[in-house]
Structures are given as C-alpha cells and as structure tokens.
C-alpha cells in the first residue's frame, strides 16, 4: 500500500512531464530529446528562486511557465521550423529533429554545467510529513502530485473543450487534412511545442521540491517521458496518464524491493513489453 501510494505520487509528476513531451511529439511532430534539459532548467530556476528569495516553488511555476513557453517557442520557430520545411518525408524530419535536439540537449547540459557546476542541488521545501491512509509521506510530494493533477486536468479540459484544443487534436490525428479545413498548422504547431516545453519546465520545478537533480540528469527524464509517451500512445492523454502512473508504481516497487539503482532497468522492462506486445500503445488501435 505504501509502495502503491508513493508510486502514484511519483507517477503524477511523470504524467505532467510526459504530457509536455506528448504535445511536442504528437502535434509538432518533433521528437524533442532536449526535453529533460528543459525540466532540469525549470528545477534550477525553482532552486535559485527558493534559496535566494525564499519564493515558494508553487509561485515560481507562474514565472517558469511563461519563460519556458517563450524559450521553446523561439527554439521551434528558429531551429525546428526550417527542418520541418526542408524535410521531404516524415523519416527525414525524424532523423533531423533527433540530431538537432540532441545538439540542443548537449548545449543545455554544457551551459548549465558552466553556470552552476556539476553538483547535485536540492533544497528543503515543505519537508514535513503528512499522513495518508495510515502511512506518512513528504508534504512536498503530495503537493507536487496535487499540482500535477490540476495542471493535467486543465490541459485535458483545454484540449477537449476549447476550439484551439480541437484544432490541436486535429493536427495530431491528421496533419495534412487539418490544413484543408483551415487550421493554421504552422502557428499551432509552434504553440503546442511551446506549451509542451512550459508544462515540462513546470514539472521540473515541482520535481525539484523532492528529488535531487544535477545538470546532467535530464536525459534520464527524457528517456522516461519517451517510454511513457510510447506506452500511452502518441497524442493520447488518457494513455499517457495511465502509463505514467504504472511507471511510477513499478519504479517504486523495484527501488524498495530490489535496489534503487535499478529504476531504469524497470522502465526498460516495461518498454520492452510494450514493444513486443503492444507497439501501438496501451489503448491504441492496431494499424490496419
């Protein structure tokens, strides 16, 4: 029970991060491998804001989100749009964007290393216990989970109820047809990419309240987010959430029963299962 709840609390934040990546991959068609660095940058921002001015991370996210949005919008417009324009087919865009975002990822790590050094960073925010169903958990974990649920819920409503959300889902389903019904694919792709970056950075700010990060941990989160997106199905909000919770629970299980050093192996086992048995994602339909 203890493991289950810790796992779900962790999975909530994973869901948020994977949701960000899913927006970028599902709509903007960019496999963003620099996603983890955006997350770590969000974490650094919260860390600095908290240690320098005692600003609560819950307030910091309202600063992190617009900053990350602007940064990701610029990255998409300046660096990724030219690749979209020059690509002759989907495969070429995939290869190009993978290489370009690898470059961005390394540059991000390099910049953070030279500004902040290679040390782990953490701070003590709301580090008092709360009781849930007979066991105690860190208040910061519970708070992060609640925030993640709120943001995921808001995103879900926005995607399913608003006109912009409808257009974005249309692009995710059929990018070529979306243009025919008068959807500005270029504009909305940039928007989705930027929004995805903002969501990820917020996830980073939240995760930094209870996990220690360092400049080069980004790639681990990128990998986990990618596995969640593939498992949940590209563009599938419900699948993403279920997959994130499953990964959170499985990781906590492995960490507490076997060894905390084997969490990536747990994620891989899950990934392998998906590849072998359900490559179309948890709720995806079999391609005909």
């Amino acid at each position: 029970m203890d493991i289950l709840i810790t796992g779900i609390l962790l999975g909530g934040t994973y869901a948020l991060i994977a949701m960000g990546l899913n927006l970028q991959y599902g709509v903007a068609r960019i496999m963003n491998l620099a996603n983890g660095e955006i997350l770590v940058a969000g974490g650094y921002f919260a860390f600095i804001a908290y240690t320098a001015t005692q600003l609560s991370p819950i307030l910091t996210i309202f600063l992190v989100a617009p900053l990350a949005f602007a940064l990701n919008w610029l990255i998409y417009r300046l660096m990724l749009q030219p690749l979209v324009n020059r690509a002759k087919n989907r495969g070429q865009l995939e290869t190009d964007s993978i290489l370009a975002t690898f470059g961005l990822s390394f540059i991000g790590v390099g910049l953070m290393l030279s500004f902040f050094g290679g040390d782990y960073f953490s701070y003590s925010f709301m580090a008092f216990p709360v009781e849930l169903l007979g066991n105690t958990y860190g208040a910061n974990r519970v708070l992060s989970f609640v925030m993640a649920v709120l943001i995921c819920g808001a995103l879900y409503l926005w995607l399913n109820r608003s006109r912009a959300g409808l257009s974005i889902r249309a692009i995710a389903t059929a990018p070529a047809s979306a243009r025919l019904v008068g959807i500005d694919v270029k504009h909305l792709s940039a928007l989705a990419f930027a929004l995805g970056g903002a969501v990820t950075a917020v996830g980073g700010a939240l995760i930094s309240t209870y996990l220690t990060l360092d400049a080069s941990t980004g790639v681990v989160f990128t990998l986990k987010a990618l596995i969640i997106v593939i498992m949940g199905g590209v563009g599938d909000v419900r699948g993403t959430i279920v997959a994130a919770l499953l990964l959170g629970i499985l990781e906590t299980l492995v960490a507490s029963l076997l060894d905390p050093g084997l969490t990536l192996a747990a994620a891989y086992v899950m990934f392998l299962g998906i590849l072998l048995f359900r490559p179309q994602g948890l709720f995806g339909k079999k391609p005909t």
Partner: protein
C-alpha cells in the same frame, strides 16, 4: 565474384594506406601513438556504425553498451583465456546482443530504435553495478603484456576488417537490398525483401565491432569499472564523427574521425569543462550546415564545378 581493374587498384591503395599507418609505432611511442590509438578506435567504431546507419538512416546510440560489454569480456576472461580468443568471443557476444536488440526494435519504426539504444548503455551499467554490489566485487584488473603499440596494431587490423566487410557487403545481395531499403522501404518490402531481417543482420556488424573494440582497449584501462566502461558519451562521439564525415560512403566516416579527434583533444586539454558544449554544437553544425557530411559537401562542390564548366 569478379574484380574489375578499379576494384583491384582500390584494394591495393587501401592495403598501402594501412601498411603506412601500421608503421606509426616505429616513429613515435608517446603522444602521437596515443592519438593514433584513438583515431584507429574511432575509425573502427564510426565506419561500422555507418555501415548500418548509412543505408537505413537509423541513429544507433548503442555503441557504448557494446563497447562496455567487450571490455568486461576481456576483464572477466583475461586470467583464463588467451587475449585473441577474448576479442573473438566479444565479437560473438556483441553480435548476439545486437541481434536481440534488433529483433525487439527494428521491426518497428526508427524512433523506437533510437530511444531503446539511447538508454541501453545506462541500463547495462545499472545491471552490472547491481550484480557487482551483490557479489561484493567492485572492479576488475586487466593486466597483460600488451603495450600501446600492440593495441594500436590490433585496432588497425580491426579497422581493416571493417573496411573489408563493408566492401563485401556493398557487393552482396544484402548490400543491394539495403540500398533499396534506404531509398524507399515500402518499395523494398513490395519487391520481396525481408526488410526487418536485413536490418537485424546488418546491425550485428556494428554490435560485434564495438564489442571487439572494447575488448581490445580493456588492457589500456588496467582497472575496469562500470562508469568507465559504459560512458554514454562514446556513442554520441561516434555518431558525430560518422555523420561529420558522411555515412553514405565507406571511407566517409574517417574524414570525420580525424578532424574531430584533434578538435576534442584540443578542447579537452584547454577547456576541459566545455566538451559537452562542443558536442552539442557539432550536432547542430551537422544538421544545419553539413547535411551529408564532408562527403556531401564534396559532392556539392563537384556538381557546382561541373555546371560551371558546362556553362
């Protein structure tokens, strides 16, 4: 198999180049030989990488995983088996592992493959660390009488074997099938090519070569531990070198290996903290300025000159 006059000339030229390279340890035993080892190592790695990724356009980041497995083969077996058999054994294990990874991922789209290989080195590292923690053993000592020159000759021989393999594949039915897959996978599948099988078979080549490279280099490390053997950065260096040179020609990657080795050498001795940044910039240079690498650049210059002459 019939050889044309050009083939024979190219083979002779290649043998001559390798023979000249083999003389390096006679001239210098210090700095330049060390650099020679690095270049020979990356030539084997990047050329074999491009054999797979050139025609398929799949970006493999598994090099570090196979390399690490190779060093562990030497580390575990050096007390009981002769060195040459360990290199061969590492090659077999590398090829089998590559086949397993390929079977799991290469039937699906390229993205799954990239993601799977991205974390592969880290995964193997975690598992080995865990096994070592549980068995109480921390690292492995590799003590041999193999010196730097010996390692260099081994690596040079391996590179020569990689070139020969690549040349033979290019002339075989498999090579022909791969070129079609690279141009258009749907067409390939419709003309009766088992695309998944061809890709898995080909992926075994870089897997085996990377494991053998690791096995050869293990004596140089003397003490092997997981974080050293499975450094993920190796995979990225190989990708950059191969693409910088150009993965579409057999001799392309070498053109990237040599300048990038010198560049990294200069950067790491002058600005040791900026290597990550340099690798990042190198990726962007490849995507935005040098698509197709130096090979592609040479092709464009040639075309440009030809059209000027024609006009």
């Amino acid at each position: 198999m019939s050889l044309t006059a050009t083939d024979i000339r190219n083979l002779c030229l290649a043998s001559l180049v390798f023979a000249i390279c083999a003389l390096l340890p006679l001239g210098d035993q210090g700095y330049w030989l060390g650099l020679g080892v690095t270049i020979a190592m990356f030539t084997a790695l990047a050329t074999s990488w491009a054999l797979f990724s050139g025609p398929t356009h799949y970006i493999s980041l598994a090099t570090a995983a196979f390399f690490g497995v190779g060093t562990y083969v030497t580390g575990l077996g050096i007390d009981t088996l002769p060195f040459w058999s360990l290199v061969g054994l590492a090659g077999v294990i590398g090829a089998v592992l590559a086949a397993l990874v390929g079977l799991a991922t290469l039937r699906l789209s390229g993205v799954y493959f990239v993601i799977f290989t991205l974390g592969l080195a880290e995964l193997v590292r975690q598992v080995i660390t865990w096994v070592q923690n549980n068995s109480g053993q921390k690292g492995l000592y590799v003590l041999t009488d193999l010196d730097e020159a010996g390692i260099y000759w081994w690596l040079l021989g391996l590179s020569a074997a990689v070139f020969l393999t690549g040349w033979l594949i290019g002339r075989s039915r498999l090579g022909f099938a791969l070129r079609i897959i690279g141009d258009d996978e749907t067409v390939a599948a419709h003309s009766g090519i088992n695309t998944a099988r061809a890709k898995v078979l080909l992926f075994m080549v870089p897997g085996a070569v990377a494991a053998m490279t690791g096995a050869i280099l293990a004596p140089r490390y003397v003490y092997i531990e997981p974080s050293l053997a499975f450094a993920p950065i190796l995979s990225f260096q190989v990708v950059i070198m191969a693409l910088l040179g150009g993965a579409s020609r057999l001799w392309g990657p070498v053109l990237g290996v040599i300048p990038f080795t010198f560049l990294l050498e200069a950067v790491s001795s002058n600005f040791p903290n900026q290597t990550t940044l340099v690798i990042g910039v190198a990726f962007l240079v490849i995507v935005y300025l040098l698509p197709g690498g130096f090979v592609g650049l040479m092709g464009r210059i040639n075309r440009h000159l030809n059209t000027r002459e024609g006009a």
